[in-house]
């Protein structure tokens, strides 16, 4: 996908490096300009950009996007949040899993435009400052990873799995986690970690 880094106003073109280098808030602020509002009429001109205001990890984050941008590319390329990973870019692997309004989704198949006004939570927003989230700690304790590429997606899915009330047995956990593929085959540890957190009955 190209064009995702450009704003609609040629004078405020921003390079990928600027976006990645700055903090998310800074990068986004540069981009606030004449983006077309997301509404029915009148029809926007072809190629028009959109101004959206997702609430990313608790912060309202205005950003101007090319309509083609996926939520995953918005997070990684525009906001510098590289926790969510691109495995397949087609909804098949789960590496890009984030939460929208508390529900897990594949960010690669989510148009970023859809997140206007909605709460997006990524792995970066899970920890409480320097304190790890219990699921992050459990993944470490149970050796639930090898290369770690699938891990942010696994952890976001794992937290949702418990919140959905599906961590009731190993079989149920496996079924609920089937959308997250681990090339390294750390599945046994992953199920252990989830069962551990669920078993302790902690709120996640």
């Amino acid at each position: 996908m190209d064009g995702g880094e450009r704003s609609g106003d040629d004078s405020s073109t921003i390079t990928r490096r600027t976006a990645l280098g700055g903090t998310a808030g800074l990068a986004a602020a540069v981009l606030i300009d004449a983006g077309a509002a997301v509404s029915a009429a009148p029809a926007p001109p072809p190629g028009a950009t959109l101004l959206i205001k997702p609430i990313v990890n608790g912060r309202v984050t205005p950003v101007t996007i090319d309509p083609r941008t996926s939520l995953l590319d918005l997070l990684r390329e525009l906001l510098g949040l590289t926790g969510a990973k691109k495995g397949c870019d087609h909804g098949q692997c789960g590496a890009c899993t984030v939460h929208i309004d508390g529900r897990r989704v594949a960010s690669c198949l989510t148009l970023a435009a859809k997140t206007d006004g909605r709460a997006v939570t990524t792995i970066e927003g899970l920890a409480d400052g320097d304190g790890l989230h219990p699921m992050q700690q459990a993944f470490i304790d149970h050796d639930a990873l090898q290369c770690g590429y699938c891990t942010p997606g696994q952890i976001m899915a794992a937290v949702a799995c418990i919140r959905e009330g599906k961590a009731t047995s190993r079989a149920s956990i496996r079924e609920a986690m089937s959308g997250n593929i681990c090339r390294c085959g750390a599945y046994v540890g992953i199920v252990d970690a989830i069962a551990d957190v669920a078993g302790k009955g902690r709120r996640v």
Binding site: V38, R68, L109, K114
Partner: protein
Amino acid sequence: MRPFTYVRPDSAQAAIEAFAAAGPGARYIAGGTSLYDLMKLDIERPEHLIDVTAIRGLDGIETDGDRLRFEALAPMSAVAINRVVLRDYPVLAESLAKAASQQLRNMATVGGNLLQRTRCLYFRNGAGGVSAGMTYPCNKREPGSGCAAIGGLDRGQAVLGQSRSCTAVSPGDWPVALVALDAYVEILGRQGTRSLPVADLYRLPGGTPHLEFALTPGEIITAIVVPKAAAGRQSTYHKIRDRESYAFALASAAVALDMAGDTVRQARIALGGVATRPWRAVAAEAQLAGKQLTRETAIIAGRAALTGAKAGDHNGFKIELAARTVADALMIAAQRKPA
């Protein structure tokens, strides 16, 4: 990906007007899990996207009265855990819960699911995208170009309803369950509303496999309606996949039984994973009516469901697999408590 314009109207009427105003190249998008995926592969090339997910009051689930009514924007995951659906229509709940992953079911709508496009490898691969070294012919993608699946790697292709132009499988699970329960869709267009049996939403490929759905451009599916039936309690969606979960069906069967003791008053049977559209197995239903349900009568019915099936080079196994899937589904449904 090609550029497109994007609007998100908040009423169905406004969406229809936006579609008409946008002209050719306009498409609705709901969850996007089928359409956006195919746009990335340069197979779908809309110029104008009209996002229907901000339409207000189009995601309800109604279970009162003599029907179930699922509005088009209800997420698959919400319908799958509805209490009435789980208790009285396991076939519906299971067809959703066994489809895709929880991430995708949270995004995908029950309306969009009906209109997802095939997973045929030759349709999906070879559109000339960056990863494809060459372009495979596909009559669905490029009318008149030919079909590379016929005589090719056809392990996943259909054994029922295929034509000389196309053997692509209709991929959805939910539509198979809906067809078994005689569901229909409510449709809104510029001319007003109409309804259509889900079974009639799907066209056989014939010589025009690119024409898949009996919808006029600009029409919106607003709801899916399932007439209530006592048979819903003794029902199941049985799905056989290459792996235990998170895969499309190699063969699947939606079954709902109206029984008097061991005797079948009426069976409803539909097949998935093996046909070019959700496939109601009328011959198998007739075969079972008035009979005792046993392992033997179940497999006879299963074989009847595959009447007329024709295999290609590598998918012959699907005929026996589907027959046994139907038989197993019948036995599973019969063990469930009647209403």
